[in-house]
C-alpha cells in the first residue's frame, strides 16, 4: 500500500484542505461562477449538485488552476490555485475522457504519473495500485480505445489520482455509464474516501449526491442557492413535510386547474403536493373525487434533494 492520501502533518498544519472565497468567473456577458464561497473539510465528500450549465465544471476548472477567476480566491492547503503545491495536492478527474486512445491502460497511467513527477518504483507501485483500484489489473495491457465505456471511465478516474492527491475533484464521473459500472465507480469512490482523500463531486444526479456526499451545495446560475448535509437541506426546504404524488384520469385542463387550486404542481403528468401530515392525503383525494377526477395511483414520499432543487428554483434538476 502506498502512502496515505492525506498527510497527517499537512492536515494538522492546514486543517481546511480547500477554501473558496467569493469566486467569480465570467465568459463575456455570461457569469458562469457568481461569487461562490465554500470550504472543503478534511476527509469529506462534498457534492456540487446542479443542472447542466449551472457552473459546476467552471468552478472545478478554477480550483484546478485551468481557469483564471475574475475575482475571488481559491486556496489549496494554503497555496494559491495553479501553484506547484496546489497542483500536487489536487487530483482532477475531468468530465470528458481525457486519455490517450493508442496507449494501454498501464501506459496511460504511467504517462500521467510522470506528468505528476513520479518515476521508478514509486511510479510502478502507483500504477499497480490504480489498476487494482479501478479493477483494471486484468486489462492493464489493453489499449484504451478497446475498453468498454465503463472501463474508460474508471481508467479516467485512475489517471486523476495516480499521484495520490489529498483532494480529488470529480467532475460528473458517471456520465454515460451503465448502472453496473456506476455502482463499481461508487465503490471506488468509497475506497478512496477510506484512504482519507477529501473529494469534491459534481453531479446532476440527486441519487449520487445523496449516496456519496456528506454535504451538498446546490448550484444554479453560478450561485450556491443552498448548502448543507442532505438532511439539513431537506429540512430547510420542507421541515417535516412530505410530498404526495397522484395521477388522475380526466380532462387535462380539469386536472391542471384542480391541482393549482390545491397549491400543487404538475410534473410529467403527475400532480405533486407538499403536505404537513399524512392525514391530509384523505382530504385531497376526497376533494379530487368530488371534482370528478378518477384517481389512478397515489404515492407518499419524503422530499429529496431533487425536491429541494425544485422547491428552490421551480425547475427540475435535469432541465
Amino acid at each position: 500500500m502506498n502512502a496515505p492520501l492525506t498527510s497527517p502533518a499537512a492536515a494538522k498544519l492546514w486543517p481546511i484542505p480547500l477554501e473558496i472565497d467569493s469566486l467569480v468567473r465570467r465568459f463575456g456577458q455570461v457569469t458562469a461562477v457568481d461569487g461562490i464561497s465554500l470550504e472543503l473539510r478534511a476527509g469529506e465528500c462534498f457534492g456540487l449538485l446542479g443542472p447542466n450549465g449551472a457552473g459546476k465544471s467552471t468552478l472545478i476548472r478554477c480550483i484546478v488552476g485551468r481557469a483564471i477567476p475574475d475575482a475571488g480566491r481559491v486556496s489549496v492547503f494554503g497555496s494559491q490555485a495553479g501553484s506547484v503545491d496546489a497542483r500536487a495536492a489536487l487530483g482532477w478527474i475531468p468530465q470528458e475522457l481525457a486519455l490517450y486512445p493508442r496507449l494501454t491502460c498501464k501506459e496511460n497511467l504511467a504517462a500521467f504519473g510522470r506528468y505528476h513527477g513520479l518515476s521508478g518504483d514509486k511510479l510502478r507501485e502507483s500504477v499497480a495500485w490504480c489498476l487494482d483500484w479501478a479493477a483494471l489489473a486484468d486489462r492493464a495491457g489493453d489499449l484504451e480505445k478497446n475498453l468498454s465505456g465503463g472501463m474508460k471511465r474508471r481508467l479516467n478516474m485512475a489517471a486523476g489520482i495516480i499521484h495520490r492527491p489529498r483532494i480529488v475533484l470529480m467532475d460528473e464521473p458517471t456520465v454515460g455509464v451503465d448502472p453496473q459500472s456506476r455502482n463499481r465507480i461508487f465503490e471506488m469512490i468509497e475506497a478512496l474516501r477510506g484512504e482519507g482523500a477529501a473529494i469534491i463531486y459534481t453531479t446532476h444526479y440527486m441519487e449520487e449526491a445523496e449516496r456519496l456526499c456528506d454535504r451538498v451545495a446546490i448550484i444554479d446560475h453560478g450561485r450556491i442557492i443552498a448548502l448543507g448535509s442532505n438532511e439539513e437541506l431537506i429540512h430547510g426546504a420542507f421541515a417535516s413535510r412530505s410530498q404526495v404524488m397522484a395521477r388522475f384520469d380526466g380532462p387535462p385542463a380539469d386536472v391542471s386547474s384542480w391541482v393549482e387550486r390545491h397549491a400543487g404542481r404538475l410534473v410529467d403528468g403527475s400532480a405533486e403536493f407538499t403536505i404537513d401530515h399524512s392525514t391530509q392525503i384523505a382530504g385531497l383525494l376526497d376533494d379530487a373525487a368530488k371534482a370528478g377526477l378518477e384517481l389512478l395511483d397515489v404515492t407518499l414520499r419524503r422530499p429529496n434533494l431533487e425536491s429541494v432543487f425544485l422547491h428552490l428554483t421551480g425547475r427540475e434538476l435535469r432541465d
Binding site: R61, A67, R87, F112, Y115, H116
Partner: protein, 417 residues
C-alpha cells in the same frame, strides 16, 4: 459540412493550388526575363592584351558575373587581393562560385588554337560538378567572347594559320592544307580525344577540371538525400506536432497542464522528441542512400551529426509553430502542405537553387530547406570540415529558437480557459 464549418481549411484548400502554381510560374516562367547569372572567377595570369580583351569580353556578358577578387563584406575595409589559381580553386571548392577560369601565362602569344598542339597554353576551367550547366555555359561564352572580343587577334592568328596551312599552294602546301583540314574535320566530328572535355571544341583551347565531386561515385545522391529529406522532415514534424491539437481536442492537454507540467516544459518536451524523430528519419534516409546509392556516409559522420541535428531542431520548431497556429487537424494539414511545398520549391528541395532566377535564389534564403541543403552539400559534396558549417548551423539554430519562442507565445491560448 464539416469542411464548410472549418472556414480556414476551406479557404486553404483553394489557396493551396493557386499559391503553388504561382510559385512554380515565378521560378520557371520568370526565367524568360531573368536568366540566372552564373558567377565565374577569373584569374588572368597572363595580363597580355589578348587576355585582357578576353576578360573584358566575358565581363560584357549579361549572363555572367565575373569575379576577379573575393567580395568584400565590409565596404570600408581594404579590397581583398585578386584571386590566384590556388585561391580560385579553393573558392570553387567552398562553393563561392561554380566555375573558375584561369588564363595561364603565355596565353597571349598564341591565343587561338585550331587543333591540338598548335595554340598556346590552354585556359583552365575549374568547375564544381554538382552544377552541370554552369561550366558548359561558361565554356560556350568563352568561345563567344573570343570571337567577338579579340578581332585583331583573330585576324593575326588567321594569317598565321593561313601561312601555316596554305602557304603558296605548292604540292607540299596542299599536303599540309589537306592534313590541317583533316585535323579540323576530326575535331568537328569529336575524334580528337582528349582528357580535357572542352579542349579543341572552339577557337580557344580549354582544359576543364572538376575540382569538387570529381571522385564522387554518385554525384547528385547527397544533394537529393538532403533536399528530399528536409522536405519530408518538415511534413513529419508538422504532423507530429499536430499531437498538440489532438490533445487539446480530447482534453488531455488540459489534464496535463493541471499536473506539474507547464506549457513551456510540455512544448520543450515535444520539441525534443520531434527533433529526435526528425533526426532518426534523416539518418535512416542517409543510410538508405549509403546502402543503395553508394553515398559516402560513414566518412562524413561528424558533419552529418551537426547538420542533421540542427536541421531536425529547426524543422521540429517549425512544426510546433504550425500546430500552435491551427485550431484543427484539417487546418494544420492544409497550412503545412501550403507552406512546406512552398518552402521546398523555393528552398531547392525540388529544383536546385543555382538554376533559379537570382530573386528566387535570394528568396530561398528565407527557408529552412535552403540552409539545410547548403550545409549537407558542404559536408557530403565539398568535403568541408565541421567548422565550415558555422553559417548554416547558426542560422538553423537561430531559426529553431525563434520559432520555438513564437510557438510558445501562440500556445498561450491553451494555457488558461
Amino acid at each position: 459540412m464539416a469542411l464548410r464549418r472549418d472556414r480556414a481549411s476551406l479557404a486553404l484548400s483553394f489557396i493551396l493550388p493557386i499559391a503553388f502554381f504561382s510559385i512554380f510560374a515565378v521560378i520557371f516562367g520568370g526565367q524568360h526575363d531573368s536568366t540566372p547569372k552564373i558567377k565565374v572567377i577569373l584569374v588572368d595570369e597572363d595580363k597580355s592584351s589578348a587576355s585582357l580583351d578576353l576578360a573584358r569580353g566575358l565581363e560584357r556578358e549579361d549572363s555572367l558575373v565575373v569575379l576577379t577578387r573575393p567580395t568584400s563584406k565590409n565596404k570600408a575595409a581594404q579590397q581583398p587581393a585578386e584571386y590566384t589559381a590556388a585561391t580560385a580553386e579553393a573558392a570553387v571548392k567552398s562553393g563561392d562560385a561554380p566555375v573558375a577560369l584561369i588564363i595561364p601565362r603565355g596565353f597571349g602569344q598564341n591565343p587561338i588554337s585550331f587543333g591540338r598542339d598548335l595554340g598556346g597554353p590552354a585556359i583552365q576551367l575549374l568547375n564544381d560538378s554538382s552544377d552541370l550547366i554552369a561550366p558548359q555555359m561558361v565554356a560556350g561564352l568563352l568561345q563567344k567572347a573570343a570571337m567577338t572580343a579579340m578581332p585583331e587577334v583573330m585576324a593575326e592568328q588567321g594569317m598565321k594559320y593561313s601561312e601555316q596551312y596554305i602557304g603558296g599552294f605548292t604540292p607540299e602546301q596542299r599536303k599540309r592544307s589537306d592534313a590541317g583540314l583533316e585535323e579540323l574535320r576530326k575535331i568537328q566530328s569529336g575524334g580528337a580525344g582528349s582528357r580535357s572535355n572542352a579542349a579543341g571544341n572552339g577557337i580557344i583551347a580549354v582544359n576543364s577540371r572538376a575540382v569538387v565531386g570529381e571522385n564522387k561515385r554518385n554525384p547528385m545522391v547527397s544533394f537529393y538525400a538532403a533536399a528530399i529529406g528536409v522536405m519530408f522532415l518538415l511534413f513529419t514534424a508538422s504532423g507530429s506536432a499536430g499531437s498538440l491539437l489532438d490533445e487539446a481536442e480530447s482534453g488531455t492537454l488540459d489534464r496535463v497542464l493541471s499536473s506539474r507540467v507547464t506549457m513551456t516544459a510540455l512544448l520543450a518536451g515535444k520539441l525534443a522528441f520531434n527533433t529526435l524523430l526528425a533526426f532518426t528519419q534523416l539518418t535512416v534516409m542517409f543510410l538508405w542512400a549509403w546502402a543503395v546509392f553508394k553515398l559516402d556516409f560513414f566518412t562524413h559522420i561528424p558533419g552529418f551529426l551537426v547538420m542533421g541535428l540542427c536541421t531536425a531542431f529547426a524543422v521540429a520548431a517549425f512544426g510546433m509553430v504550425l500546430a500552435s497556429l491551427c485550431h484543427t487537424r484539417a487546418q494544420l494539414g492544409a497550412l503545412s502542405t501550403l507552406l512546406i511545398l512552398t518552402m521546398s520549391a523555393v528552398g531547392g528541395s525540388m529544383f536546385p537553387r543555382f538554376l533559379m532566377p537570382a530573386v528566387m535564389q535570394k528568396a530561398g534564403l528565407f527557408t529552412i530547406n535552403a540552409w539545410a541543403i547548403d550545409g549537407f552539400t558542404k559536408v557530403f559534396w565539398r568535403d568541408l570540415p565541421v567548422q565550415d558549417l558555422w553559417q548554416q548551423v547558426s542560422v538553423l539554430l537561430a531559426v529553431g529558437i525563434a520559432l520555438f519562442i513564437v510557438a510558445r507565445r501562440i500556445a498561450r491560448r491553451w494555457e488558461f480557459a
